[in-house]
């Protein structure tokens, strides 16, 4: 759908995606932004309605701009195992896993999802452009790495009616697809790959196909969704959904290590409450030694998800502990479905050890009248929103 020759002729800095032409009629606010060189929408019409679609119907999000790399070859698994902190050997064919990867200092370089498409074929989706690092890691391994960002047309289809929508679209066999599973169904002259993945913490899927089928896939999806509250959603609604679901965002809750200039602004997995993603039983992965050392010496920061008193989002707030400033908020939102005022905060060690007396200093204004409140904060055990429908197999046919 995206004619690369035309795009190159136009010499654009920000390019349309395979779905931009289809999405334009929905973009009533015309609120586009630059997502890694591609056009993406902040809002199409109203972020509230789009968020409501995610939680009560289906929200569709264009993930063509997301960086995608296909890694193939006999050493693909071992290659990825040296990069990723998790044990990739445990990832079976047709399964997806959330991954983070570090530099030699144990600082997180990026996070993303890793798809195992066949025995020796993986696809990595990342926040940053990763080609440089992936190539750097390839010495000594028999692998081929290809940037497939342009070659794939992909949509996230998220929300409680998403299963019903896809079934109505004629995609068969989806009822048995478990979370983080992958399946393929024939579509027109080719196929659609469906993964039960997403960034909303809800029932949801991601559809992957070739650019030539992008238009048909979009049209049939939206036709099937007409009676099931399907809407395109923008990045603002998605951001709210991910905070509610407890997902950290690269570039917001942590900075990717190669883009940090100031010493000490990088973060390790231990400092982001991500130790569960680190498999120290593996004999080697980038950052292992540094992380073992930090595990022994203790982290510099502690990442917490907070339930903040009241309903004023703690945007950019300082966090205090008995009057002493101990940290800052990285993401915050009043989450409508969970009815929780969520804040993700980075606390400085060792003050972050005691989380019993945390307060957020929240500034807000009503018509230029500024108010400050000190809102009590409680660390949350899990995400604010964690519905059973996220995991139900088969999902409900609403």
């Amino acid at each position: 759908m995206l004619d690369l020759n035309t795009v190159r002729e136009q010499d654009l800095i920000v390019e349309p995606t395979h779905f931009t032409e289809r999405l334009k009629p929905y973009a009533k606010t015309n609120d586009w932004f630059n997502w890694k060189g591609y056009m993406a929408c902040n809002t199409f019409e109203c972020e509230g309605k789009e968020y409501a679609a995610i939680r009560s119907g289906t929200g569709v999000f264009d993930i063509c701009p997301m960086s995608k790399y296909d890694i193939t070859g006999p050493d693909a698994m071992e290659y990825l195992n040296r990069i990723m902190t998790r044990d990739i050997a445990k990832l079976n064919v047709d399964r997806v896993t959330y991954v983070i990867w570090c530099d030699d200092n144990g600082y997180i370089q990026d996070d993303g999802t890793l798809f195992r498409l066949s025995e020796n074929h993986y696809r990595l989706c990342s926040y940053e452009h990763a080609m440089d690092w992936l190539m750097n890691c390839a010495e000594g391994f028999d692998v081929e790495i290809k940037d497939t960002t342009r070659d794939i047309a992909a949509l996230a289809v998220q929300g409680p009616t998403s299963f019903g929508v896809l079934e109505a679209m004629g995609l068969e066999g989806l009822e048995n697809l478990k979370p983080f599973g992958i399946m393929r169904v024939p579509f027109k002259s080719g196929e659609i790959m469906i993964s039960r993945t997403g960034f909303t913490g809800d029932l949801g899927y991601e559809l992957w196909t070739t650019p030539d089928l992008a238009g048909d896939m979009f049209d049939e999806l939206f036709e099937a969704g007409r009676l099931r509250a399907l809407k395109p959603m923008g990045a603002i609604a998605l951001d709210l959904a991910r905070i509610e679901a407890g997902f950290v965002q690269a570039g917001v809750d942590f900075l990717t290590s190669e883009h940090v200039i100031r010493t000490g602004r990088q973060r390790t997995p231990l400092e982001l409450d991500m130790e569960w993603l680190v498999d120290f039983n593996k004999p080697l992965f980038n950052g292992r030694k540094a992380l073992l050392k930090q595990k022994e010496e203790g982290p510099r920061y502690r990442f917490v998800k907070l339930d903040v008193e009241g309903n004023k989002p703690a945007h950019n707030s300082f966090i205090f502990n008995k009057g002493k400033q101990v940290g800052t908020v990285t993401s915050a939102a009043w989450c409508p479905t969970a009815k929780t005022n969520v804040a993700f905060a980075m606390l400085e060690w060792p003050y972050g050890r005691d989380t019993d007396n945390l307060e957020a200093e929240i500034y807000f204004q009503r018509e230029l009248g500024w108010t400050k409140v000190m809102a009590k904060c409680k660390p949350m055990k899990g995400p604010a929103f964690d519905p059973a429908r996220k995991r139900a197999t088969p999902p409900s046919r609403i």
């Binding site: 071992e78 040296r82 990069i83 030699d104 750097n136 010495e139 000594g140 391994f141 080697l284």
Partner: protein, 516 residues
Amino acid sequence: MTKQYDAIIIGAGHNGLTCAAYLAKAGKKVVVLEARDTVGGMASTSEFAPGFKVSNGAQYATMLNTQVMRDLGISLEYAAKDLPTVVINPDGNNLRMSGDTVSGNLSDSDKAQFSEFKAHTRKFAKVLSGALKVRPPKVVEGDWHDKINLMKLGLKMRLLGTDDMRDLMRIATINLYDVLNERFDNGQLKAAMSLDGIYGNHLAPRSPNTVLNYLYRRTGDLHGFNDPALVKGGMGKVGEAFAEAAKKAGVEIRTGAKVASINVHAEVASGVTLENGDVIEAKAIVSGADPKTTFQKLVGARNIEAGFVRRIRNFRAKGNVAKLQVALKDLPKFAGVDAKDAGGRLVITGDMDYVERAFNHAKYGEYSEKPVLDINIPSVHDDSLAPAGKHVMTVLVQYAPYELRAGWDENKETFKSIVMDLIETHAPGFKDLVEHSELLTPADLEAEFGVHGGHWHHGELTLNQFLMTRPVPTATQYSTPVDNLYLASAGTHPGGGVSGLCGHNAAKQILRTKGV
């Protein structure tokens, strides 16, 4: 056979042997594993034609450290010391440099400046020399030991006095071309002096880091090598002497024992596997091999973290010097070179632009069409090297890039005849005296000595690969990201040249480490 040692040293080069000897003297049980059948590494003598022997790696002794020699009880027999350098021309209008004096057809000012400049730079070499014989200080996470070393360096600089300190800081990072032009007029004098700042490196007089290399060479002056020396029997005798010293200290040396891999699990080294399959284990594995060979070949890129792999990949180590060795029926006659200088260092170079143009080729992966030659006929001083009445000649040829774009196999003979022709123009009749000749390119040196890129110094000696960043950050102070694996080669601080300091510093540091 599995055997437990305190330390395994990979490679019986002079640094490996030095390190082994110091460790053994401290009571450690040490084995040295050498791939070749002879010891000494690039301090080597080979019989390249029946009855003709030559130093086929390092050519001159210029850096041997007196403290290391004293500690290890090594004394060498020199065939000649203080070799004069003669810049030769076809018309015999030559320059002669010896010690701090230069003679020939040049201005009084140049003559005076020559002495002054040698003395001036030797003061700087003295400052540098203090930093070469200790481990390179870590600046950020260094301990008291590092702080003292840094303070000593700072203090020594300060004690130079304001003018000299200022001048050192001014010239340290710039190039010899500018510095020599400030003082000298004679083009050939400048070119010949500049050779001390470019040898073995991918540098020419206009390159940054040439002053650093010049000062590095001048540190040899402090050990009696203001001018180069010839070791009796060739540089192989240096290797043998270091090996004897190591054996006397209790080191076991195995030749013909090629290490196939360093055994690493979870970034901890446990031992080595030889090519014959034998596994030998030790508390410390010390690599005398260059950093690229150590990590890319012996450890394997897959067994270490990727950031470090990248650093090692980017370590610059591509040799640029070829070596011509010639068996001669008789002594060739160079115009204007009298009998006492016939065994000296005979240099063929134009002015600094000539050197720079010779280097231009190397930048683009070509050999120099008009190369710079450093010729020596050691048999003039040492009759053990050639049959009676006959002679051997060795020539350092710059530039001959390791990665010749057109391929060495196809072009070696052409390049050799360029070199031979150039010598012929300076010594008519030379070619008729040739019994046998061979050219060793950096690729040949790599194959012969197992040193990556055939690089003299195991890696460029430049500020970004110097002191605490040699070979690369995170592999400083002779340790590596792999526990129990240490480096002791010229690829570490201070760097190349047959001095023994890398091995000495490495041993001291290893002995400081707990658990070895």
